[in-house]
């Protein structure tokens, strides 16, 4: 919230809403230098005041009435200049050196009345410089008259009579209408009591409402409160009293939150010269180019470092993953090798067992063959010889009974089968010596392989 500086010919008051409504009161500069008063005041106030409104009686503020038809001939932007010329006679400030702010009060078919505030541009500059010197910004300068809200109460109809050294204003609000301001000609007799104020307003046929405020710039009111018969209350605001002063400035602080209905003289922003514009444009282009180059470089550097960091991070994370994959691959390869080795082992074992088994069989089988032949031979069968012939054994003999030949062959075939020997009977011949044809001569072929 902006700081309010209230400066009259006698006192300079600072009000800081941000500091809890702290009020700083100083004597105004004796020489009437508004700049010095502001500097002294801002120096005395705590902290730096960033945004400042100056309420000062240095501003000439009055109602100016002009012909409505003359307003229709000119552009709206020229109205302040026109009113400055109109007010020049009353304010004594040359229009060429005046800073003027206007606010429409009432308009009619014939006449239009504006609330005009003027201040000499030198004084305005002094105020602006003083504020800027203290590190702040001057938001505007205006006259402390015409506050459009009650100072001490906020409800119901009200009327306030303000008596400033250079202006007398009646501000009132009836019902739900907007506040009205009436600038009065000089009051002949000073009104110093609330009751007198109500009487005065009644004499002027101004509706007062239930509540009347009296504000006098320099005179101390004779009484603070007055009560009428029908609940009417009149109150005098004493600007010499700190409480009333704080209340007054607090009301202004609230009002200046939206200063559109007030004639505030604001600093003029002077347009830049073409040269300045060119310089500014070039500077902006240069700044943009420098910014682009810097952005390009910084981005490139950032991307490079980011890429490097990402690569290292990826490498760091990829290491265990690769190792894991390699382990799994190695596991699979080892599994294959184990399977292969076990298969080779099984095959070799089988071959070895077969070889050793065959070796054992071959070592023993001739002895076993002879024993089998000898042990299994029937009594009526005789072996006459065994011949070895081209990979086979030829057993020759004779038998009384022909069936004994086959029985013997069957018996030894069973017994020789584990020895990988097979028995065949290729020849059985009756010799026809006896009546039944016997004896019988036979021949067995015993071969390798069951």
């Amino acid at each position: 919230m902006p700081t309010i500086l209230f400066i009259t010919s006698t006192q300079a008051v600072g009000y800081s809403p941000a500091k809890g409504g702290r009020v700083t009161v100083l004597q105004a500069d004796a020489a009437g230098d508004i700049g010095l008063s502001i500097e002294a005041l801002l120096a005395a106030m705590p902290g730096r005041q960033k945004q400042v409104y100056v309420l000062t009686t240095e501003v000439w503020s009055q109602a100016v009435t002009v012909e409505s038809r003359s307003l229709r001939r000119i552009d709206k932007s020229q109205v302040p200049q026109m009113l400055a010329y109109e007010a020049e006679t009353y304010s004594g400030i040359p229009a060429s050196s005046a800073r003027t702010a206007i606010q429409l009060l009432e308009t009619g078919p014939l006449e239009t009345t504006y609330w005009v505030s003027q201040i000499d541009s030198v004084r305005f500059a002094q105020a602006a410089d003083a504020v800027a010197f203290n590190g702040g910004k001057l938001l505007g300068v205006l006259h402390p008259a015409g506050l459009h809200e009650p100072i001490t109460t906020g409800k119901g109809d009200w009327t306030r009579l303000e008596q400033w050294d250079d202006a007398s204003v009646v501000v009132s609000r009836q019902g739900r209408s907007k506040s009205e301001r009436r600038f009065l000609s000089e009051i002949e007799q000073a009104i110093d009591t609330p009751a007198a104020a109500r009487d005065y307003l009644n004499r002027l046929d101004i509706p007062t409402g239930a509540f009347v405020e009296l504000l006098h710039q320099s005179a101390k009111p004779a009484s603070r409160e007055a009560y009428g018969a029908e609940g009417e209350v009149s109150h005098a605001v004493d600007l010499a009293d700190e409480h009333d002063l704080r209340t007054f400035l607090s009301a202004w602080s609230r009002a200046l939150r939206s200063p559109k209905t007030l004639p505030v003289v604001v600093p003029v922003r002077t347009g830049a010269s073409p040269q300045t514009k060119r310089t500014l444009a070039l500077a902006a282009v240069a700044a943009v180019l420098v910014g682009i180059v810097a952005h390009h470089r910084l981005t490139a550097a950032y991307h490079a470092s980011r890429a490097k960091a990402l690569e290292s991070q990826i490498t760091e994370l990829q290491g265990p993953i690769d190792a894991f994959a390699a382990q799994q691959k190695q596991l699979g390869e080892l599994g294959n090798e184990v399977t292969q080795a076990q298969e080779q082992l099984a095959v070799l074992q089988t071959r070895m067992l077969r070889y050793q088994g065959q070796l054992g069989i071959h070592r023993a089988r001739m002895a076993a063959l002879l024993r089998t032949l000898g042990d299994s031979r029937p009594r009526d069968l005789m072996l006459s010889g065994v011949q070895s012939d081209d990979g086979e054994l030829r057993v020759v003999g004779r038998s009384v009974r022909p069936e004994a030949i086959i029985e013997f062959a069957t018996t030894i075939a069973k017994q020789l089968e584990p020895l990988n020997l097979s028995v065949r009977v290729p020849r059985r011949e009756a010799l026809l010596v006896t009546a039944d044809g016997g004896p019988y001569e036979f021949e067995y072929i015993i071969r390798d392989g069951a």
Partner: protein, 305 residues
């Protein structure tokens, strides 16, 4: 108000150019990102992928443990395979030299003579005629074992370096040992070189049965391949003598296996020496080799009546 507007518009015009320039640059940066920006975007995507593929520590530990177990399993299998190959190689190589042939012949003659047979003639058989005798199944088994051994050894010979065992005895020449290993690995295994001999004997049937059974027991390197007998044309008194004609084959028997083949009939897998027992490794290997046993399908030979 109009002044303010004019001022604002002039400022807009003044700053419009740089603003447009700035906008164009921003659009260009947005629409055409640099290679570095693209790389960063690509790497960020890659990082997300890598993070998603991150392997939990427990899983990694589990795989490491599986690897260790699998390596042990492989070493164990290879050790058993090496042992078996070594033994098979010993059986599939070598030959009977002249001295051994003489010794074996003497032993066979002695055993048969003790059994009651009388030696009439003894002469070696020309080599290469074994195929005519009853050795087909043994020859097939020998061929299969030799072929298997040759294939397995040849596959590994090229890729597997020969390493000296840490417990190689000091009296063994490392170069000779390695040469022997190389020969064992890369050579062919066609079976042992055998020698055959023919005997002509006179004796009765029972003596021959006893004699052959005694040969089986006493001479592990001897395989009787053929037996024939005939009756003599001239009758003699007493028991009937028969004229026997037998052939036998002399096979080299590895010294470490000779006693085992004869006596045992159960296969025992070789036990891999424990790593901690390095002190007795050499001694253990020798005893292991002696303890290695093989199945020998030795038929039951019934006793004589």
């Amino acid at each position: 108000m109009a002044g303010k507007k004019t001022q604002s518009s002039s400022m807009l015009i003044t700053l419009g150019g740089p603003a447009v320039l700035l906008c164009l640059y921003a659009v260009n940066v947005r629409m055409n990102p640099s290679d570095a920006a693209k790389q960063v975007a690509r790497l960020e995507g890659q990082l997300q992928t890598v993070k998603a593929a991150e392997v939990p520590f427990a899983q990694s530990l589990q795989v490491t443990e599986q690897l260790r177990l699998k390596r042990e399993e492989l070493e164990d299998a290879k050790f058993k395979l090496d042992e078996l190959r070594r033994q098979a190689s010993a059986m599939m190589r070598g030959g009977v030299d002249g001295m051994e042939e003489l010794d074996l012949g003497k032993e066979v003659n002695r055993v048969l003579t003790v059994a009651g047979l009388r030696l009439v003639d003894d002469h070696p058989v020309t080599s290469g005629s074994d195929s005519n005798r009853m050795l087909k199944t043994l020859t097939d088994a020998t061929k299969q074992l030799g072929q298997t051994l040759t294939e397995q050894m040849s596959k590994e010979a090229d890729n597997t370096p020969i390493e000296l065992p840490p417990d190689l005895p000091r009296d063994v020449n490392p170069l000779e040992w390695m040469a022997a290993q190389r020969e064992l690995r890369t050579g062919r295994f066609d079976g042992p070189q055998t020698r055959s001999s023919q005997l002509r004997l006179v004796g009765d049937y029972r003596s021959m049965v006893a004699g052959l059974e005694a040969v089986v027991d006493a001479c592990p390197g001897v395989v009787v391949t053929s037996v024939a007998f005939e009756k003599p044309t001239v009758r003699t008194r007493g028991s009937l003598p028969l004229i026997w004609n037998i052939e036998y084959q002399m096979r080299p028997i590895p010294k470490s296996l000779a006693s085992d083949i004869e006596m045992t009939d159960v296969v025992q897998q070789p036990q891999r020496p424990k790593p901690n027992s390095s002190e007795n490794a050499s001694a253990d290997r020798q005893t292991d080799a002696q303890a290695d046993t093989y199945m020998v399908a030795k038929p039951i030979v019934r006793g004589a009546d």
